[in-house]
Structure formats: C-alpha cells, structure tokens
Symmetry: C3
Subunit: 297 residues, 3 copies
C-alpha cells in the first residue's frame, strides 16, 4: 500500500474504503469486524463515512463494530461528512445546512454513533449557495479546539467555492472529495483537478469505476473504453481492465485517492493491486481519446 500525507501527522491509504453502501453488504457485526481486519491487512486504513449514508444509519452500524473492537480505532483514519439534509418527515425538501450549531451537532452525532471520540477529517458534503463561511469557520474552530475533529476538507466543491471558503478559515482544507473516472472526466475540465494541484492537496475520488459502467456500459464510449483498457491491460500485464482504470487514476500527478465501496475483499483488493502500475502519457491519452471519441486538440 502507498500512503499519502494529507496534513502534518495524517496519512491516508492510497485506497480508501467507502461505507456509502454498507447496508447492501449484508454483514453481521462480526462479519463487518472481520472485513475491516481484512482491509486493514491489505493496508486500507482510511474509512470514508457521511452522516446521511444509509439514510442516516450507516455510522451507527459501523459503530457497532467499533464498540466491540475499540482497538481498531487507532489503526484507522476516519472521515465523515455533513451538510446535506434529506427530505423527510421533518424536512420538506432536500437542503443544505452549514450553520455553526448544525455542523457541530452532526459531528457529535457521528462520534456518538460510531463510538469514537474524534474524526480524523470532516468534509463539507456539497457546496451550498447559501453557506455562510463565517459560520463554517466558527464550527471548525470549535471542533478543532474541543478535539472532536483533527482536519477539515470539502467534497464536490468547485474552485471558486473552495477559494471563497478557504479565505475565511484559520484551518487548512486538506482535500476535495470529487467524482472522477475515465467515464466522468468533468473535474479535469472545470478546473477542479487543477485546483487540487495548485493547492497541493490530493483529491479523494468517488465512483472511480463510474459505478461499474466501465464493465457493464453498452454505450459507444464505454465499448471503446473497454477495448483500449484491454489493449493496455495486456501491455502492462494487469489481471483485468479495472486495474488499468485504477492505474489511469493513480498515474495523475495530483495523486488522487480512489474510494472503493465494495464489501467483498476480492473487490477491495483490485485498486490495491493496480498500485504497482503507472501508465505512460501515450497510454493515458489512449484512454482519454477512446472515451472522448476524438483526438486531443
């Protein structure tokens, strides 16, 4: 496993385990403990949560494992997110809340549910046109001072949103968790990946295989992509094309950190195996060209 320095004294594993679909994994508490141990054995030490995952239930389920095995905590970096409020009996629409008290309250719930005393990293889940950066700054300062959160970041932020927020904070933003895969390259075109390079931060990547579309998509771009991934797979000697897709991500100079959301160790292992490959510029642009359907300008 590679590890990436995210802040002073904080390293993330280059492959992160995401708990968005934890409920779908259908694991008992003991099975989840076993799975966490297997992941830790692979070197996957960074765990990605959010308050809303599983309709607000995932952190609690994860917490059952952590409460039974509190010794695992120190082997992990635990991330959570807040800010999205789902439509519910009490919320008439889905909305964002970045008020000071709301942020602090959500973190306290996350800690309680997960049975831990601090988050390694708190991310703001989505940018909001209504966010008050002063409110956010106050929340971050309080959480840091009280030892409840060690570092802070954002998710799905565009460059201007990132810079605006940063200009109000007394703490650094250590990452931007964004969507990126060969089939979703928008964040390489709207300045987000460039922002990460400029800010010297390493983006975390959700849906690095485009939710499986790399294997199953029947569109023209997906078919072209699979063909070229197969050509490169053979050249570099990888087992399957998903390793090539992960290698395409790992090769990027911003050192992106993909999140795997699988509950099977065989699948969690795929990006780890891909870590040994790096693509040449030619191979990297063969993928780009296949997806776009035209050559570079």
């Amino acid at each position: 496993m590679e590890y990436v320095t995210m802040a002073e004294g904080l390293e993330f594993s280059r492959v992160v385990l995401g708990f968005w679909r934890l409920l779908d994994w259908n694991l008992s508490t003991d099975e989840l403990i076993r799975y966490l141990e297997e992941c830790l054995d692979l070197g996957i030490t960074t765990m990605d949560h959010a308050d809303i995952y599983g309709d607000y239930t995932v952190e609690e389920k994860f917490g059952e494992a952590m409460k039974k095995r509190p010794d695992l905590r120190d082997k992990m970096q635990i991330i959570s997110k807040c800010g999205i409020v789902y439509k519910s009996e009490t919320a008439r629409v889905k909305y964002y809340n970045y008020g000071t008290d709301y942020i602090i309250g959500q973190v306290e719930k996350s800690l309680k549910y997960m049975g831990i005393d601090h988050l390694d990293t708190l991310l703001l889940h989505r940018p909001s046109p209504f966010m008050d950066p002063e409110e956010i700054s106050r929340a971050f300062e309080t959480l840091l001072k009280e030892g409840k959160v060690r570092t802070f970041g954002v998710s799905n932020f565009l460059p201007d949103e990132f810079r605006l927020l940063k200009s109000y904070l007394t703490v650094p933003l250590i990452t931007n968790q964004i969507e990126l895969s060969p089939l979703r390259m928008g964040n390489m075109e709207n300045g987000v990946m460039n922002l990460c390079l400029e800010e010297r931060i390493h983006p975390m990547l959700w849906s690095p295989l485009a939710g499986g579309r790399i294997f199953t998509g029947q569109g023209e771009e997906e078919i072209r992509l699979r063909e070229v991934l197969e050509v490169i797979r053979e050249e570099i000697g990888a087992e399957d094309i998903d390793e090539v897709a992960f290698a395409w991500l790992f090769s990027h100079p911003a050192k992106p950190i993909p999140i795997t959301g699988s509950g099977e160790i065989g699948l969690a292992e795929r990006p780890v195996k891909a870590l040994k490959y790096r693509l040449t510029p030619e191979q990297w642009f063969m993928v780009w060209t296949a997806v776009k359907g035209h050559k570079v300008p």
Copy 2:
C-alpha cells in the same frame, strides 16, 4: 432600516432607491421632493443613478429637486454609473467607453446635472472587453483627488473582470451591482456571489423581484415559486409574497442590498418591511427548489 458599511465612513441603507424609471413615475419637482422625503423618513438614504438612465435625462430631473432642496444632499448617499454609450445621432452602435477623460467627463456631467459636488460612489456600468485598466485607474485617482467621487465600484462584472481591474487600482472596489432574484439565480452559479463573499463586499441587486415576474409570470417556475412563497409567507407572518422574496435575498450571507425602482412609497416600503424576516435554510432551499424544479444535488 438596516445600514451596511461599504467603506470607511460610508454606509448604504439596506434598501436602495433606484432612479432608472424616474420618468415613468410622472412626478413634478415638488412631488419628487416629497417622495424623497418620504423615502428618507423610511430610512432609504442611498440613491442609485446612472448617466444613461432615461436616455441621459434622469440625473437632470433629479437635480431639479436637489437644487431646490440642497439640504437633502447630506442625508443621502448618491451613486452614479458611467461607461455605456447609447446608440444615438453621434454613436453608430451602443458601445462602452472607459477612457480616462471620458470617465471624468461623465462624472462631471453627472455632478452638474444633479447639482451636487461629489458622488459617494461611482460604478462602472458594465465590463468591457476593450477596457484599459490603467486608463480606469488614472480616472479614479483623479476623481478621488479632486473630491468628485469618494468610493468606486463596478456593475455586472464577472469574477475575472473584477480581479483584473482590482489588480490595477490603488482604490478599493466597494461593491458589484448585479442582477439577482429568485427567478434569476445565475449570479449564484457563475461565481459572482462567491466573489462578493470572498472580497468581503456587499452586492447591490437590480431587479430583485425580476421586474414583477414574481407576481405576474405565468411560466411553470413562476407558478411554483408563488406557491412556495405563499407557504412561507404564512409561516413567517408576512403581508405578501414580495416580502418573502426580499427576505430570501436578505437572508443571504453576502448581505446583498436590493434596489427598489418604484415611485410609490407603498411599494418602496415593501422591502423595508421585509427586513425583519430571515428564512431558515429549509425555507431558503424551498424557494430554490421551486424555481429549479428539482432538488439540490
């Protein structure tokens, strides 16, 4: 009335009176004086002009009132704008002129027409792909030194245009006057509102009720908007839905300053009454969602 600090020693009233449609108000000079007194009694002290309003005639008409009642000047902050040249007998196309001499000349005309000796704020009316920031800087420095203009700003500037100009100036840009309303949210999506927050400036807002479309529009989004404004109106106890629309604007953390362009005191009073309301994040996004026709991401 709330007042917003725009610069050292300069406050704007949170509601501004705009003179774009002064001719439509059909007021005699004495009626205009009475109207100005009524507005000042409401606390509306900031007056928004431009050289071109009323086809270059509004400032002169306003000046007739000011010359009759020069005692009103010190109770007001007077803004004007320049830079747009309308197509006319002498101008073959509508165009922008930001030459040093042109800017200074237009300000001198504005002062003469309005019968005043200085503007509190001069705004560049629209960004121009042909503007020379050095020319603008020279004009601003001269106008400041000669006491003709106290502070400077822009209107309808995108972030890169704002930053470019700022990088040449020795005076601050204290505001960006832009279009914003629940029915025109573009400036919350293109970085302009974020720029205002980042620059710690308060945007002035033109067409805060989308030119009346909030009441009269028959499109789907306008109908949905009215429905949700009515729901919130009842919750917060406002008199009419325009107060909710203004409250939606007032609630934004950038502290935007809407401009009312009405010549009737009953209408000018509407945003002032709305000042006592602030929306919750849920209410704020109910408006957003109604206009967009879909939930937030």
Copy 3:
C-alpha cells in the same frame, strides 16, 4: 515597427513571423534567406516555431538557412514549442508529453535542427490534463541553467491552467500564445485576455485573420464584418480591410502580438502597415457588433 518588452532584456517585434506553413512557401534555402532578410528589414525580428510544424520538418528547413547565415541569429528572437506528440508509426494516438526528459530532449532537437545554441523563448504548446507541473519546472530550470532557453511561456492555456503552472515555477511565464481575431473572440470571453492583462503579459495571437476567412468567408457574420471593416477602412484611410482587422487587434490594451504566417513579403508587410492605426472605442465595438450580430448588453 513597434517592439514589446516581454522580459528583462527581451523584446519581441509587434508583428511576429510564424513558420507553421513554411513548407507551403516553396522557398529554396537561398530564397528563404532573402525572405528572412526582407522581414528583418521590415523590423520583424521575432520568429515563431514549434517542434511539430511541417510534421517535424520545419525547424530543420529553417536551420539550413541559419547554418548558411549564422550572422542572422543575433538579429532575431527565436521561439519554439513542444509538448504535442503527433500520431505516427510510434505513437498510437496524438497526445501530450510534458515529462522533464521529454521537454529537454525536444528543445535539444530544436536547437540542433535550427543550428542555434539557445531559444529566446520556449512555449508549452497546449495545456494537458495530465501535465505534472513539477516535471515541467525541473525541465525549465535545467534548460535555463544550461543556457538552452532564456525565457518560458505557454500556448492555448486557460486561466486556471496558467495559474496552476505558474504556482510551481521559479521562472516567469512571459506570454500565452492564443487564437484571436474578430471572427474568433472566445479568448475575450473565457477570461484568457483578462488573465494576460492581470498578469501584465502580452499575448501572441495565432490566426489573427481567422485563416483568411475575413476575406473569403461567406457566412452572415463574415459578410457583416467585411462591411464594417470597409466603413472603418475609409475613415482611417487604410489600404485594405486586413489593416483594419489588425488595427482592431493592435488597439486592445493587452498589447497583443499577432503572428503572420505568410511567405510573401507583401503580405507580411500588411500588419506592419496597420501599426500606425488605432481604433476608437466606437469603431472597435462596431466590429464587435458586426460579428456578434447584436449590440453589447
């Protein structure tokens, strides 16, 4: 001729000779030498190359002239570019390579082919979503230290790409070579020209006459453009409408530097003759309005 200070001790002629189409000029080495002398006599001292021009053959052909007349070198500023790799027997797709060794290797080839010992300026030919700014920085530092390149710049970079790269470099970026003409105004709308003003750099312009479309295009915008260029031509007393088009560019406050790609001295002279004209704001926006087909906002 006007000259523009690009960096300490480096001036470009306000009109640059581009060698993209050198092969089409059909000149023998002696004819090319005579042409270079004629251009130098006009004051055109800056020569724009790229490794890939003429399918990697132009620099060598230019070098034949330079090797025969090495005394010409000191009268010139020589620019080249690298980074694009064309599809070929060895490259399966067109791609970009900005690895340290690749950049250095391409410059060394350019020097060898052209028979010179240094470039005045090296440009990165196109931005790449895969470029590693640390690799680029190392290449630039090495090339500078070894005396192989005096200054550095980019081509076709968007503002965020420019700023990202700049943030890694220990040398300044002295220009951005971009497309601009009355018929292609995109770089005045996407922030690129504004970036040049903000960075106090002077853009070099490729296709300043839109590849001749100004004369030959039969679209509505091209017909409208020719009509208005003709009106202005008569007003300013120019010989032909191309001078007006060049004057439109020369009038911009960013001091853009158009590249002429002609092998005939009569054509290379056209922009030089246009240097004596500057358009008024009204004339400048008459061109803008004709091309857009609507007045400014």
